[in-house]
Symmetry: C2
Subunit: 207 residues, 2 copies
């Protein structure tokens, strides 16, 4: 179907687009929270720091938690991207599984505890089971299922146990290394645990 | 060898034996901590509640932590006894392993979170890695090794993987359900996790 030769009306004179303001608020909030902590910062503090009015911030986010959710979501996406890249980088399902354990642990440790002091937000998110966390956990479980499915097709993994059962159990083994609340108390085992646990899991999957 | 017919000298007039006083202090402290919390109670509070002088308590325990260690030790021994009884009650190594997962989880949940509000003490113990906790963890690992060894001898479990490696990995799987700090964040999974995880572990052990 041929495109009509229409004239695109120029946008009316206005400020930055909504998504730009949202990004600006999130960037400033990330900076502010990582310096002063999420729990201790109010929307008023944030407004003052950015130079916006509190009311203006509330036009874009209904609460501090909504800003936190966005930051948390970004952080979880970053972890997930690293894992997906590592998993995509090999064709062997057993190696994919090993990398899931290793990279989830390393990236979670780095993002939750070192790089940005975002632990406060991650902890609130996990404690209150924010939507961003639920979505993340669902995506991780789906990725795990895909890797298991691939390994069943390639003949690397056994097929007797229902896929759901296998996936749920392995997720329970992995969870203490990607949930920030659990990870904080597992930090003394993170150098060896991913390798030992993925070896155990691979033994459980042998055909 | 015939016993000599000696006259046992009567004990000099004195108060209750040391171990009786210690038990009395521990019993009163358990009661007091479970009502007011371990963190919030000082040795002075405790002395007042028992009706002893603070100095008298310090004759028997060098610190509040020393009393807490004794209470914590009792609690961990109780959990361990339940597990050992359940394990001893079957001859089948796979069933022993299942029971370890189930009974450690149930008994820890009950003792740390319900019966006595001893969570405060258990949490301090785990955070500060008290001697009572270290000893407990070592005993749990030893019990696990014994069950694995039995299963290897009976032919139920594979023998290719070094015993140490198997035991360490399984302990890592079990740990989130017996460490009180981890268990508090696993409470939404404790109804199904022990069965699912022990099934996974048993698959990993199949010869």
């Amino acid at each position: 179907m041929p495109m009509k030769n229409t004239t695109i009306p120029s946008a009316p004179a206005r400020g930055p687009a909504d998504h730009e303001v949202r990004d600006q608020i999130v960037a400033a909030a990330t900076e502010h929270f990582s310096r002063y902590g999420y729990d201790k910062t109010t929307v008023s503090d944030l407004a003052k720091a950015i130079g916006f009015s509190k009311a203006y911030i509330y036009k874009f986010f209904e609460s501090k938690q909504a800003i936190g959710e966005m930051i948390c979501g970004n952080c979880l996406h970053e972890i997930e991207s690293e894992v997906r890249a590592a998993v995509a980088d090999t064709d062997l399902p057993p190696e994919k599984l090993r990398r899931m354990f290793k990279v989830f642990t390393d990236a979670s440790l780095r993002l939750f505890f070192r790089d940005r002091k975002l632990y406060d937000i991650a902890a609130s998110a996990a404690t209150e089971n924010w939507q961003a966390v639920q979505a993340y956990e669902a995506r991780v479980q789906k990725l795990l299922q895909e890797v298991l499915q691939e390994g069943r097709q390639s003949g690397d993994f056994e097929r007797k146990t229902p896929l759901d059962e296998t996936a749920t159990a392995i997720y329970l083994v992995l969870r203490p290394y990607l949930n920030p609340l659990l990870l904080q108390y597992n930090r003394d085992t993170t150098d060896v645990a991913p390798a030992q646990l993925s070896s155990l899991v691979l033994r459980s999957l042998s055909p």
